[in-house]
Amino acid sequence: MSEHDIELRDVRKAYGTVTALDGVSMDVDRGETVGLVGRNGAGKTTLFKLLVGHETPDEGAVTVAGRPASAGPAVRERVGYLPEHAGFPPSFTGREVLDFHARVRGIGDRDCMVERVLRTVGLADAADRAVGGYSNGMNRRLGLATALVGDPDVLLLDEPTAGLDPAGVAAFHDVVESLSAETDVTVLVSSHVLPEIERLCDRVAVLDDGRVAVEGDVADLRRTAGDTTSVVATVAGDPGEVAADIAASVSGVAEAAADPPRVRLSVERDVVFDALAALDDTGTVVDVEVTEPGLAAVFRDAVGASDVALAADASGGGGGGRD
């Protein structure tokens, strides 16, 4: 078996003239939990479809659990997949849904397996209710339960908490966290919610325009982002003058730069309000954006910066797996 549970090598995929993935390479080791973030249309769902063999790459190679993903059903024997738009027949009970999945996967003691995954996702009490009466959160947890049937090597979760209320999100996180902690299942999870990725994942890859813009350890990336808060103000006056003003009047401003018509400041957390007040005092501010440190800053730099900055990120972090 390959040393990686998931391997993508220079994968390209286009739909007509639209390029979904443009040279993506990535490795995920056994037992790792890796997050996949990116804007809508960045190629996340396409990547999942390639991994389970629903799509084939135009170029490059995709290997999952040691097998080429093009093997389709043979790969899905090892993979638990929760698609973004999972649904179930409303007249079936949760138990019936899971029993069917266990049957197809050739599980011997289906009752036992079903009971176990029901307990894992916290649906044991609702197991015999029709799925049509489930809440959104219960539906997603049932989806996760179907993915867990048969103890897969690899778990692929596509936007698993989209549309859930905070309690549903928290419950879902608890399940995935305990899976990661107690088993050696390999998890690839996509999300728009960056704190979710920070909480659940060891590593993160930022997809942008079909490429891996940034990839690395969550902890490393957070360190890179630093402890300073980013304040970007659009000003009516001369940005250079405003930047100099702020730098002179507020202590704790690590960096103040002009990027007409904006002023970009990196300030320590406890002087953010001082900096904002100083900006206000200049009387020239049109708009202000404050970004807390962490993955959000990394993400913003990766997908929200100018083309030049993006290219620099891509050359530094994209195009290859960390391993």
Partner: protein, 335 residues
């Protein structure tokens, strides 16, 4: 640790045939056993020892193993689809519809004039059934694939190690069994009444009518599944199913007869036209057993050389080809 490995090599969805050795995926220690402690106690032995029949066969690789796994997967999907059809009241609906249909025809055609008119009653089954059987089948089948796609349940099916063939054929078979059950139960109600009027001697002919209705129904169900696979939205599939009904039931005969009459085509073209419509095949299969002529294209079949085997072969083709087309179309469908 629970063992879930299935050690054969089913075919890829895109048809690629992988010929690798059996997976050695016996147990990933400490795998995704999310429940700690007691929940898992005793699971390991039972789960690992409890390989079912499909699992037993999994040691076989290559074509026989692939075919076996596809057959097992198809049966599993069919059983699920049948259960869904029952819960959606399709079976009850079809039963009630055809119970009303058959009892009405028997009552109206047979009660007052007695056994002598039996053939006329059966002929009326062909003439009226040709409208109703396709309609019921198309209604049962039009949302088979696109409906599951819209609800997200198709994507969940495809998350499993099932082939496209298993999904499409399994869904078709499940609904076909439901449709067949409903048709036969409905016909049985009218059959009881008919036997009361005409005696048990009529049962042979009546059973032929019912079986022809089942075959035609399943052929139209295949057409509906094909439409459902090609359609991007459920409303498109419904439109396509209605268009198919209008074509096969109302327009096809008119066009065929019009062409034959206008262009003075040879008589075999009439036979060919019959073979091109499962509705006509149903009508002809029923009418050819009765000493009665009837309207539509069937009425002029005396001049053609359509024998029973040809008609049955054509019906078999109608049963197989639309579903085969749906399997092919499914491979290109973006789910």
């Amino acid at each position: 640790m629970e063992v879930v490995a299935v050690t054969d090599e089913p075919p890829a969805r895109d048809g690629a045939d992988e010929d690798t050795t059996p997976a050695e995926h016996t147990a990933a220690d400490g795998g995704a056993d999310g429940t700690a402690g007691a929940a898992s106690a005793g699971t390991a032995a039972t789960a690992s020892a409890g390989a079912d029949a499909s699992h037993e066969a999994a040691g076989v690789t290559g074509t026989p193993g692939v075919l076996w796994r596809t057959a097992v997967g198809t049966a599993q999907v069919a059983a699920r689809e049948y259960r869904l059809s029952v819960r959606r009241r399709w079976v009850v609906g079809v039963t009630v519809l055809f119970a009303l249909f058959s009892t009405s025809l028997v009552f109206l055609g047979g009660s007052s004039v007695g056994p002598a008119r039996t053939n006329a009653v059966l002929a009326s089954f062909a003439q009226v059934g040709v409208y109703l059987v396709p309609l019921a089948a198309l209604a049962v089948g039009f949302d088979t694939v696109v409906g599951a796609d819209e609800s997200g349940s198709l994507e969940m099916l495809l998350a499993l190690p099932l082939t496209a063939t298993s999904v499409v054929v399994g869904k078709y078979l499940g609904r076909a069994v439901a449709l067949t059950g409903g048709l036969l139960a409905g016909f049985a109600v009218g059959g009881v009444l008919l036997v009361r009027y005409a005696g048990v001697g009529v049962l042979d002919s009546y059973a032929s009518v019912a079986l022809a209705a089942v075959a035609a129904g399943c052929a139209f169900l295949g057409v509906a599944v094909l439409a459902s696979t090609l359609a991007a939205e459920k409303t498109h599939a419904l439109g396509a199913a209605l268009a198919a009904w209008v074509w096969f039931v109302l327009v096809h005969d008119l066009v065929a007869l019009g062409l034959v009459a206008t262009l003075d085509l040879p008589s075999w073209t009439v036979g060919a036209a019959v073979l091109l419509s499962p509705a006509d095949l149903f009508r002809v299969l029923v009418l050819r057993t009765l000493p009665t002529t009837a309207g539509g294209i069937a009425g002029v079949l005396e001049a053609t050389s359509l024998g029973g085997p040809v008609l049955l072969a054509a019906l078999a083709a109608w049963l197989v080809l639309p579903v085969a087309g749906a399997v092919l179309a499914f491979g290109r469908r973006a789910v």
